[in-house]
C-alpha cells in the first residue's frame, strides 16, 4: 500500500522568484533523503529547468496535443538528485485556455495514479501566482495540496497577489480545500522591506516561514541552469534554502487566512506610502543638517 505524499502548493506573482524558490526547496528535500516530485503549473513550462541543467522537458499537454491517449508516465522526467519533474504546460499565449490546461494535466496524473505509484514523500506544485480563474485554483482544492505557501517580496504588487491568493484559499477552505502555511519572504535585504512584509503578515495573521535574501549566488546558479543547492552547496544561500525546506517538511498545521478586503488593502498601502514619504523627507532633512 503506497502512502499518501505530503502535497504542497507554492504560489506567487510572476517573476517574484517562485520557481527558483520551489526548485531549491525540492533540491534541499531530495538532499535530505526524501522522494520528491515538482509539478510546474504554468503554461510557460519552465518550473523545473534548473533541476535539469537548464533543459526544458515536454509537458503533459504537449503529449495531449500529439495524441488522444496519454500515458502520463511519459511526462515524468528525473532531475537533480532523482527529483521527478513534471510540467503541466499549456497553450501558446493568446489562444485556448491555460486554466483548463491545468485541470486536464492534474486530472490525468491523478487518474493514472502517478503520485501513488512513485511512492513519493512530497509533491510540490509551482503555480502561476495570480489565481485568475478556476483552473489555477485546482491545486488548492479538495484532495490535492494540503498546504499552500506564497512567495512574496516587499513589493506592493507581489503583496496584492498574495492577498488575492489568500482570498482564493479562504473561499475553498469551507469545502475541504488547502489551507495557508505561510509566506516565504523573498528578496528581503533591508529592514524597511522586512517591516512592510511583516506588517502585512501581521494584518493577515499569517506566519512568515523564512526570509530569503536577494543573492548573486542564486543568479549565478540560475544562469548555469542549476539550483543554488546544486551549484553552490556550501554557500550561505544554500543553507537558507535548506532551512526553508526543513520548515516546510516540519510544517503540520495550516490555517484559514484572513485576507484584507480591497478597501483595507488600499488603506494599508496608502499608510505605507505616507510612511515612505515621511521617511524620505526625514532622510533628506538629516542630510541637509549634516551639510
Amino acid at each position: 500500500m503506497s502512502r499518501k505524499p505530503k502535497q504542497i502548493a507554492i504560489y506567487g506573482k510572476g517573476g517574484i522568484g517562485k520557481s527558483t524558490t520551489t526548485s531549491n526547496i525540492s533540491a534541499a528535500l531530495v538532499e535530505a533523503g526524501y522522494k520528491v516530485m515538482q509539478f510546474g503549473c504554468d503554461p510557460k513550462a519552465d518550473s523545473t529547468t534548473t533541476l535539469r541543467g537548464g533543459e526544458y522537458i515536454p509537458s503533459v499537454l504537449d503529449l495531449l496535443a500529439e495524441k488522444r491517449r496519454v500515458d502520463a508516465r511519459e511526462a515524468v522526467f528525473k532531475g537533480f538528485g532523482g527529483i521527478y519533474c513534471v510540467e503541466a504546460g499549456g497553450p501558446a499565449p493568446g489562444v485556448g485556455c491555460a486554466g483548463r490546461g491545468i485541470i486536464t494535466a492534474v486530472e490525468l496524473l491523478k487518474q493514472q495514479r502517478i503520485f501513488e505509484d512513485l511512492d513519493l514523500d512530497y509533491v510540490i506544485y509551482d503555480v502561476l501566482g495570480d489565481v485568475v480563474c478556476g483552473g489555477f485554483a485546482v491545486p488548492v482544492r479538495e484532495g490535492i495540496a494540503e498546504h499552500v505557501f506564497t512567495v512574496s517580496s516587499a513589493d506592493f504588487m507581489a503583496i496584492y497577489a498574495a492577498n488575492n491568493l489568500f482570498r482564493g484559499i479562504e473561499k475553498f477552505s469551507s469545502s475541504g480545500g488547502a489551507l495557508l502555511g505561510g509566506i516565504i519572504a523573498n528578496s528581503i535585504n533591508t529592514d524597511f522591506q522586512r517591516d512592510i512584509i511583516e506588517d502585512f503578515a501581521k494584518r493577515t495573521s499569517t506566519p512568515i516561514v523564512q526570509y530569503v535574501p536577494r543573492s548573486l549566488t542564486v543568479t549565478q546558479a540560475e544562469l548555469s541552469g542549476k539550483t543554488t543547492i546544486e551549484a553552490a552547496p556550501q554557500s550561505e544561500q544554500a543553507d537558507v534554502y535548506r532551512a526553508l525546506a526543513r520548515h516546510i517538511a516540519e510544517h503540520e498545521t495550516s490555517k484559514v487566512p484572513t485576507p484584507l478586503s480591497q478597501v483595507e488593502l488600499r488603506e494599508w498601502s496608502a499608510s505605507w506610502a505616507e510612511h515612505i514619504v515621511r521617511m524620505e523627507r526625514a532622510d533628506r532633512e538629516r542630510a541637509r543638517a549634516v551639510a
Partner: protein
C-alpha cells in the same frame, strides 16, 4: 488498469479502453488489430498491426456523453438532477421525461415526472463563476422535492471555467445531510457519448453502493442493462435467481443491494464499468461469458451464471426445456427469413449481439455499422471480446463500419449494402435515413428485445412485421431528397472523404 474510484472524475473510455469512433473494413481485421494493440486477447496470432483510426474531415451532429449521464441519473427514483450548465444542455430532458414515463408504464411503476433543474448559466456566471448559483439551486432542489440524493452534472462551460463542483457538493452535503453526487460529464472530454455511461456508473459506484458484503444474498443476480422491460427474470428465474435490474430506472434500494449480490451480468459490455468495479471493490464476480445472443451463447452464458452461483445441477434442464420450447417457432421463422439480407446499426457489443441473432435466424449479414468500438474492456478479459467471439462463431462481416451515427456515412454504407431491411438502435438518424432510402426498418429502442432464447423469436417476428412494408418505404423514398452532391449520393465507401492519413 484497475478502475480508479479515488478521483471524482471517471477516466474517459478513450483513455481507458482506447475507444475509437472511425473505422471501416472487414470485422476480422478490426478484431485482430484491437487484440494486437490492446493486450492480445482472442485471435492474436503473428502478423498483427496497430489499430489505426480513420480521420473523417467533418462531423454531423449526433449525441453527447452528458445526455447519457444526465438521463440515466434523472430516471433514478427519489433523486433530483441539477444540470450545472447553460439552458441548452437541458434540451434533452424532454426526452428523459418521456422515457421515464414509458419505463414506468413498462415496469408497472406509478408514472411520475422526473425531477431535474438547470442552473441556467449566463454570461455573468461564466465571468464570475457559477458555484454560488449552484449552491442556491441545490438548496432549492432540496426544499422543493426533498430528494434522498441530488446529482450535479457538469457541462462544457463549467469544466472550462473550472467551477469547483466537487467542493460545493461536499459543502452542501454537510449542510443538507444527503449524498450530493457530482457527475463530471463535460461533452468535450470524450469523443464518444458512451463515456456518459462510465460517468453515471462511476458516480453510483463511488457514492451510492454501500459495502454490505457481509449481507451476502446468494440468490441475487445484478443485471446491468441499457433500459427496458425485465426479460431476465424468465431466463434466470428457473435457476432460483432473483434479478436486481440496474440502470434504465433504478430505485436507490436496488443500488444499495449491489454489493450483496452473488454475481453481476452486463447486457452490453459497453456498460461493464459498473460490473468490473463491483468485482474490484466488493468481490461480486462479474460474469464475463459472451453475451446471450443466439442459442449457443445463451446456453454458455447460463452455464457460467450457474457455475458462479453454484447451481450447475439446475442449468442443463433449463437449457433443454428452453431450446425445446422455442424450436418449432424458430424453425418457422427461419423458413420465412431464409435468403433475406439484413443491415445492423447499433452500439458496439449490442451490434455484435444483434448480428448473432440475425445469423441464427438464417438472415445474411455482410454489412454492419457500429457507433463506436472498444478495443478492450475494463476487466481486460479476452472473454469479453464480443466482436472476436462473433467472428469466431458466425464468420466474417465483410463491411464493418465504425461511425458515431453520421448520417452521410450511413447513407454510403446503406448504398453499399442494399439490404432487405435495417435493424437499428438510436432510431433518430439511421431509421429515418433507411426509411427515406426505401428500406424497411426495425428501430429498437429497448435493447433487451434480442436477448436469450425468447429474444430470437422476438426479433424474428419483428422483422417479419416490417418486411411487408417495402411499398410504403418506397413511397417515402420517392418523395425524399438528401442534401448531398450527386457524387456523394453515388458513394458506397463511408470514408471516401477520409484524408487517408491514418491518425492514431
Amino acid at each position: 488498469m484497475a478502475i480508479n474510484l479515488r478521483t471524482p472524475q471517471a477516466e474517459t473510455r478513450d483513455q481507458r479502453l482506447g475507444t475509437i469512433t472511425q473505422w471501416d473494413g472487414p470485422a476480422s481485421q478490426l478484431a485482430k488489430d484491437s487484440a494486437f494493440t490492446f493486450g492480445c486477447g482472442r485471435d492474436c496470432g503473428p502478423g498483427g498491426k496497430r489499430l489505426c483510426e480513420l480521420n473523417s474531415p467533418y462531423s454531423q451532429a449526433s449525441m453527447c456523453a452528458e445526455q447519457i449521464a444526465v438521463t440515466n441519473a434523472t430516471i433514478i427514483k427519489d433523486t433530483v438532477v441539477i444540470q450545472h450548465s447553460p439552458i441548452g444542455c437541458a434540451s434533452s430532458q424532454s426526452f428523459t421525461s418521456r422515457y421515464s414515463r414509458d419505463l414506468a408504464a413498462r415496469r408497472g411503476w406509478k408514472p411520475e415526472d422526473p425531477k431535474s433543474i438547470c442552473t441556467n448559466l449566463g454570461e455573468q456566471d461564466m465571468v464570475f463563476g457559477g458555484v454560488d448559483r449552484l449552491a442556491e439551486t441545490i438548496r432549492d432542489a432540496y426544499e422543493r422535492h426533498h430528494p434522498r440524493v441530488i446529482f450535479v452534472a457538469t457541462s462544457c462551460a463549467t469544466g472550462i471555467i473550472g467551477d469547483d463542483v466537487d467542493g460545493t457538493a461536499r459543502q452542501l452535503e454537510d449542510e443538507l445531510g444527503i449524498p450530493i453526487v457530482a457527475l463530471h460529464c463535460e461533452g468535450f472530454k470524450s469523443r464518444h457519448w458512451s463515456s456518459g455511461w462510465d460517468v453515471i456508473e462511476h458516480g453510483i459506484l463511488r457514492r451510492l453502493v454501500p459495502n454490505r458484503t457481509h449481507e451476502k444474498n446468494p440468490d441475487l443476480l445484478n443485471v446491468i442493462h441499457l433500459g427496458g422491460p425485465d426479460v431476465f427474470t424468465p431466463l434466470v428465474g428457473p435457476l432460483g435467481l432473483k434479478v436486481n435490474l440496474i440502470m434504465g430506472g433504478n430505485s436507490l434500494e436496488r443500488l444499495a443491494d449491489l454489493s450483496t449480490a452473488a454475481a453481476t451480468v452486463t447486457m452490453c459490455f459497453v456498460l461493464s464499468y459498473l460490473a468490473t468495479g463491483l468485482e474490484q471493490e466488493y468481490g461480486v464476480p462479474e460474469i464475463r461469458a459472451p453475451l446471450p445472443y443466439g442459442q449457443d451463447a445463451t446456453d454458455n452464458w447460463l452455464r457460467d451464471i450457474a457455475r458462479v452461483t453454484q447451481r450447475e445441477h439446475l442449468v442443463e434442464a433449463v437449457i433443454a426445456s428452453e431450446r425445446a420450447r422455442i424450436a418449432p417457432e424458430l424453425e418457422r421463422l427461419r423458413g420465412l427469413l431464409k435468403g433475406k439480407k439484413g443491415f445492423v446499426a447499433a452500439g458496439a457489443a449490442f451490434a455484435h449481439g444483434l448480428i448473432a441473432d440475425l445469423r441464427e435466424l438464417g438472415v445474411t449479414v455482410d454489412d454492419a455499422y457500429s457507433f463506436h468500438h472498444d478495443p478492450s474492456t475494463d476487466s481486460g478479459d479476452p472473454e469479453q471480446d464480443s466482436l472476436g467471439h462473433l467472428i469466431q462463431t458466425t464468420g466474417e462481416i465483410e463491411n464493418f463500419t465504425v461511425s458515431p451515427d453520421q448520417h452521410f456515412q450511413t447513407h454510403a454504407a446503406l448504398k453499399r449494402s442494399n439490404p432487405d431491411f435495417v435493424i437499428c438502435r438510436h432510431s433518430g438518424t439511421t431509421a429515418t435515413l433507411a426509411g427515406r432510402l426505401g428500406i424497411p426498418v426495425l428501430p429498437i429502442f429497448y435493447s433487451n428485445d434480442g436477448l436469450g432464447y425468447e429474444g430470437l423469436l422476438t426479433i424474428g417476428r419483428a422483422i417479419l412485421r416490417v418486411l411487408p412494408r417495402r411499398r410504403f418505404y418506397e413511397d417515402v423514398a420517392a418523395h425524399s431528397a438528401f442534401p448531398y452532391q450527386p457524387w456523394w449520393l453515388e458513394q458506397t465507401n463511408p470514408y471516401a472523404l477520409d484524408t487517408a492519413e491514418a491518425a492514431e
